[in-house]
Assembly symmetry: C2
Homo-oligomer: 400 residues x 2
């Protein structure tokens, strides 16, 4: 058996905090397979590299024989938790929930093993559908209003003068009770879920069960450098993205993100990670090379080394090969973030706006080798950007 402390140490690379570490070590030492709670709501999933950080940690534990309990919060989705969203989430139909749940399992299977010996799918409707109102109210008696309102998200809402519906307020109680009902030993979550999962420990203790350990993972900014990877901003690399898209999106991140991305999204040795970080900090061709290395490492993780090499070649060729002239004209741009249409206008000042829009619509425009369909898409000029419009026209855009 691998030493419990070694198991935990291997997780540390992408760990932010561990609550209940002593209990976790003890349980690992017992030799019994742990039950790892992976709770999700059943809204339409689009898992990205950020989510995958947690999945890879669970995968490590699966490889040691531990059990991931994939808990679909179908009941709680019907209720709705608006974590980090300004608006209360729309209620879903049972059919939508079911479809989303299936999509979820498919996506997690990109990382997790799904054989029944290490993967179990549960739904929290299993315990909530049979629960009586009096019993639920009994659970409510185990927690105070002040405890719930201590949650960051609630405090932010109150500070912003926004409302908290009571079903939202009690959502953490349900999520917490889930841990008891499914006998969770450990859960690995984003730090925004720490509050709810600590309530899980609270309920387990109140109800006479051993409390789960909670590991929160490192949060990494989106590909645009913004703090949150968000569906509306599409600023992330999705697990279902093609290898080409993954590669291209990673090539578009700010240099300053290379090191942290390499640390949490790849298995590159940590000294390599540090070296990539230093190279990226200097800018220019070494930064470009560091990013290529990062992109290749991520694609390797998800699609294998062969695919990664293919994508690396394709990308390099697009930018440096026979098709692309060596003497691309440079265009200086005044603002660090502009739309594709703006950039195209800067590069081709004599063309009309409508003809440029048509070019984009025809699929004749690429940014760093990636085709762009939306004239209003923003391009960040954190490093130079190569803009191709039509079969033989290149421009290198540089922040002035």
């Amino acid at each position: 058996m691998i030493e419990p402390s070694t198991v935990v140490d291997r997780l540390r690379r992408t760990t932010d905090t561990i609550v209940g570490e002593a209990e976790l070590l003890e349980r690992l030492a017992s030799g019994r397979p742990l039950r790892i709670k992976y709770g999700v709501d059943c809204t339409a999933p689009d898992l990205h590299l950020g989510h995958a950080v947690n999945l890879w940690m669970m995968r490590q534990l699966q490889d040691l024989g531990h059990q991931v309990v994939f808990l679909l919060g179908d009941l709680t989705t019907r209720v709705g938790d608006p974590t980090g969203r300004s608006e209360t989430r729309p209620l879903l139909t049972p059919e939508e929930i079911e479809a989303n749940a299936q999509s979820f399992v498919e996506q997690v299977s990109i990382v997790l093993r799904t054989d029944p010996s290490v993967f179990e799918v549960r739904r929290n409707s299993e315990w909530y559908d049979g629960m009586r109102v009096a019993e639920l109210l009994g659970l409510f008696g185990q927690v105070t209003q002040a405890q719930l309102m201590a949650r960051d998200m609630f405090r932010e809402r109150v500070a912003a003068g926004r409302e908290i519906a009571v079903h939202e307020l009690v959502y953490p109680v349900l999520q917490g009770y889930d841990s008891f009902a499914m006998r969770s030993d450990l859960t690995i979550v984003g730090s925004d879920q720490l509050f709810n999962e600590q309530l899980g420990r609270h309920f387990q203790q109140r109800l006479g069960a051993p409390p789960q350990a909670v590991i929160t993972t490192t949060i990494t900014p989106g590909t645009d450098g913004r703090a949150k990877q968000s569906k509306s901003l599409k600023n992330y690399v999705a697990l279902t993205d093609t290898p080409r898209d993954k590669f291209g999106k990673l090539m578009s991140i700010p240099d300053s993100l290379v090191e942290s991305y390499a640390r949490v999204y790849t298995e590159l040795p940590l000294d390599t990670v540090a070296a990539l970080g230093s190279a990226a900090a200097g800018g220019g061709p070494p930064a470009r090379d560091a990013k290529l290395r990062l992109a290749a490492a991520v694609v390797t993780r998800y699609h294998g080394a062969g695919t990664a090499r293919t994508e690396l070649d394709a990308f390099t060729r697009t930018f440096t090969d026979r098709n692309q002239p060596t003497d691309i004209p440079e265009v200086l741009v005044g603002t660090p973030g502009a739309t594709v249409l703006d950039l195209l206008q800067a590069a081709r000042p004599t063309d009309t706006k409508s003809s440029l829009r048509r070019l984009i619509r025809q699929g004749a425009v690429t940014v760093n080798g990636i085709r762009v369909d939306d004239p209003t898409k923003t391009v960040e000029l954190t490093t130079d950007v190569v803009l191709k419009s039509g079969p033989r026209t290149w421009h290198r855009l540089r922040l002035s």
Copy 2:
């Protein structure tokens, strides 16, 4: 049919506010029997004159053919609402709840008619036992945390740094939904219940039903002049008190309460009420006479004019008849509230404390004709007090 406005006007004598008066008038005009929600929790009842104010209003409506729906909050009692109490209420067993419910029905039948044509007993477990968690959470979605926290009692608790358990927080939601589930047209409550019953209107409207009207009633201080009639202070006249105790307790109230007691606890004409108030304000024998009139009117209401006359005679005899000398020695007392033992010591300074205690324990001591067993009982000297100790010893105690 009596004019709806006349019906409402008759209730006004003991009404504080009416929410939804227009709807109430309209419903009365429809001629259909109204469903009047009389919701109670199932803790051990000891109904007093304050509760009876509401019951008499319902009785008026019963006499016009309207239906009182006596709603036992058995589910909500299992949950516990700590209205106005510093401590969370202990949870009761189903047997205790059932016993309390029976006692409740017995006590309300002192005022209400209980024939099925105008009286119906329901339990809120009828709808909550069959309700699923998801449905309850749906109700929670109809109300915000801020709405619930607006409740006076919650704000007071927060201000005092005390906790609010979540089951307590959601209690008003349950009480509010009750109004929908039982199709309440009207409820008559103390002002401390206005918040919860307005939530009832909210749910009825949200769920597509016409909202109940809410009448809140005049709150009258306890027999000791304190704001609240409370079980722990025993400062009220209970409906189950004997006629003698009712009479005696009413004779012990401060003069300043005579007018308001006469207004809300009797059916004396309002000009008589005003006259009693003036008489009481002057003190001395006219105040005493006003109080006798009040006590007789209350006893008449509950036990009939014959019994009231008997009690009036008995009381008067005790204080003024052959047994009681006309030249009772006066004792001046320095503080307006003292224990029976203190007063006895002041009256009989040569006796030992232990012998005085023994007198009390033997049942040989009366205060204003009422036997006292507890040496530590406080006596208010708002008017003179006649203390009898042993068969032939009287003292008139007067505040110096």
